[in-house]
């Protein structure tokens, strides 16, 4: 009798193992001088964050098309090689090895910091392949001291203080709960925000949730007992939509603010009218960037939907790589890395920027958005004097 049950449980365990990822391996055959220059794009293309990954690949493809349209780089075309990292460390390692085996010249992409971390370790160990991050904002990624890691987006320890400033000085909150989803990215942003809130005299309560569930009512009920003014959620959009909807159903009134990973239309379609009034801190969307107007039109025409939050940063990441390869006049990794480091005042779609010593973008920009009538609209930003003003 007991044997039967142990067998059942073993089978359940086997089932959960089987679901862990499977990468697709494509054979490669390149390296003549007229063959395209391959740029790898590791992003989640399956699982909860697949839609964000697809948008990033589309952004990369638009950049490649633009570069190839004006003659390519070093007389060669740019070819985008997307690969699925499933937002999972283990799959990401395989995905990165897959890119290496396909002889990519450089890498531009990444979405979940927890996947980008193992990826950049693979690229670093395989001859310092240049890796320009477009969406992974965990500070650790550039703090490792690798000379082949760059990013076109700000980092969490810049977003954290920004969010804390917004919560304390604009929302005038007294009681704050900061919640993460235990992912590398969300925990990093949570810690930076909590630390920054302390400088405003606010002691935030920290909460965690387990992503991938459908029901967060118990977590919300627990939070509501603290009677907070603001709940800052540093996790991803899938859970944010559910949190908004379920808090509304439960009749809870605290203001919810999300981190930049909640910047996705899924929040609106999941929560419906419950999303109205929701605010988030984010690097500006392409729609709110004066420099990216034509990109938004072109993207929307080609793919039939608005560009996701990060595709424009991916566009810049691919453009930076192309520029660096051109400047280096070589596809050798070490020369490209040096060339990226020397890029100064690059005029990208996301503004004019350079890279500092460790590869981070300077200056970084953040704004807040608010949902009005079921749409994300630009809300407040900090002006040079440190005051909160409406985004023009």
């Amino acid at each position: 009798m007991a044997r039967r049950y142990s067998w059942i449980l073993a089978a359940a365990g086997a089932m959960s193992l089987l679901v862990a990822g499977c990468g697709s391996a494509t054979t490669s055959s390149s390296s003549s001088s007229s063959a395209p220059i391959k740029i790898g794009v590791p992003v989640p293309l399956s699982g909860s964050y697949a839609s964000a990954g697809e948008d990033i690949v589309d952004g990369a493809k638009l950049a490649a098309a633009k570069i190839n349209g004006s003659g390519g780089v070093l007389g060669r075309k740019i070819q985008i090689v997307p690969v699925d990292d499933a937002c999972d460390a283990q799959t990401a390692t395989q995905a990165a090895q897959n890119l290496v085996s396909q002889n990519v010249t450089a890498v531009a992409g990444g979405y979940c910091s927890s996947a980008s971390l193992p990826e950049l370790q693979v690229f670093h160990s395989q001859g310092d392949l240049p890796f320009v991050l477009d969406a992974s904002t965990n500070p650790q990624l550039t703090e490792l001291g690798y000379n082949d890691v760059f990013r076109t987006i700000g980092r969490d320890d810049e977003q954290g203080p920004f969010a804390a400033n917004f919560i304390a000085n604009f929302l005038h909150a007294k009681k704050v709960v900061v919640m993460d989803d235990n992912s590398t990215y969300a925990v990093g942003l949570q810690q930076d925000t909590v630390k920054a809130l302390k400088t405003y005299g606010i002691t935030a309560t920290v909460q965690h949730l387990t992503p991938g569930q459908s029901d967060y009512t118990s977590v919300l009920t627990q939070i509501n007992q603290l009677h907070p003014d603001v709940l800052y959620y540093t996790g991803y959009f899938t859970e944010m939509g559910l949190l908004l909807k379920q808090a509304h159903q439960l009749g809870y009134k605290f203001q919810m603010v999300g981190g930049d990973a909640t910047n996705d239309p899924t929040v609106l379609s999941t929560a419906g009218s419950a999303a109205n009034g929701f605010m988030l801190t984010t690097a500006p969307l392409a729609q709110f960037l004066g420099t990216a107007k034509s990109y938004v039109t072109e993207y929307t025409q080609k793919y039939g939907h608005a560009p996701g939050p990060y595709s424009v940063y991916e566009y810049d990441a691919v453009s930076v790589l192309a520029q660096a390869i051109k400047n280096a006049d070589s596809t050798k990794a070490s020369k490209i890395n040096a060339a990226i480091g020397k890029i100064h005042d690059f005029k990208g779609l996301t503004g004019t920027f350079s890279f500092n010593k460790i590869g981070d973008r300077t200056p970084a920009v953040y704004i807040t958005l608010r949902v009005v009538n079921g749409n994300f609209t630009a809300y407040k930003e900090l002006n040079d004097a440190g005051q909160w003003v409406s985004v023009k």
């Binding site: 049950y5 089978a11 387990t210 118990s218 009920t221 899924t266 379609s269 419950a274």
Partner: protein, 300 residues
Amino acid sequence: MSVFVQYLVNGLTIGSFYALVALGYTMIYGIIRLINFAHGDLFMVGAFAGWLVVAAGAGMHLPVAMQLLLALLVAMVVVGLLAMGMERVAYQPLLKSSRLAILITALGVSLALENGAMIAFGAGFDTYPANILPLSGFHLFGAQVGYVQVAMFGLAILLMAGLYLFVQFTPVGTAMRALSFDQDAARLMGINVEGVVLITFLLGGSLAAASGVMMGLYYTQINFMMGFLMGLRAFTAAVLGGIGNIPGAMVGGLLIGVLQSLSAGYISSQWQDVIVFAVLILVLVFKPTGLFGERVVERM
């Protein structure tokens, strides 16, 4: 007190979704001793079928109540038929071979359904219209109870009661129970074993589909992987209640929902699965047949 009631209400809502899926596990196990790992994916297919119907219904400007009813019925029928097809194609040829062969086949069917849905509907999230159901509710002992929660719970109980009555009081139900005791003896008594097994899959699939549509409507987000976690939890519920036992699956499902909700509320959501499985292990240690399971003569 009010908070406890709130956790209880939330737990019963999600538990009723688990219970509906757990019934399919338990019925199929009871009759052909197969743990149908693809059962959670039938739940997922049901959610997508209902989603398509709601989208089509909205396109034709049908009244909301009509859309919901159609979504539920169409999903139940489609998935019921799919489950029958699954049994015919994948399981029936293997009924006489080793249990391991059929178990691996079930895993294969599960992966086929998941990846099929990913190809058909994409890898991201699809959403039911967020405002199709009212968000309002009432207060009960200080807890906020949504009308939708009551409706979902009521519908689940209704379906479960219907199933129970069917199994207890109809000729087919009697045949199902006979099969669960001894297939060969049942066949000798003139019972159409293949037919009854097919009907079991039809019923299990329909209930899973109903749960899928209800969960889609309630939480709005649906995804090709949603059946995996559900399958695991519902299977746990079936084992907790005593696999093969119908009231056991119902109670097991509700219990797991409530346990999850309470542990997420009073301890931490990170611990909810740890606690649920700890309880499962404890129950199995002291009562290896589950809460309601009866000791049956081991065959094979």
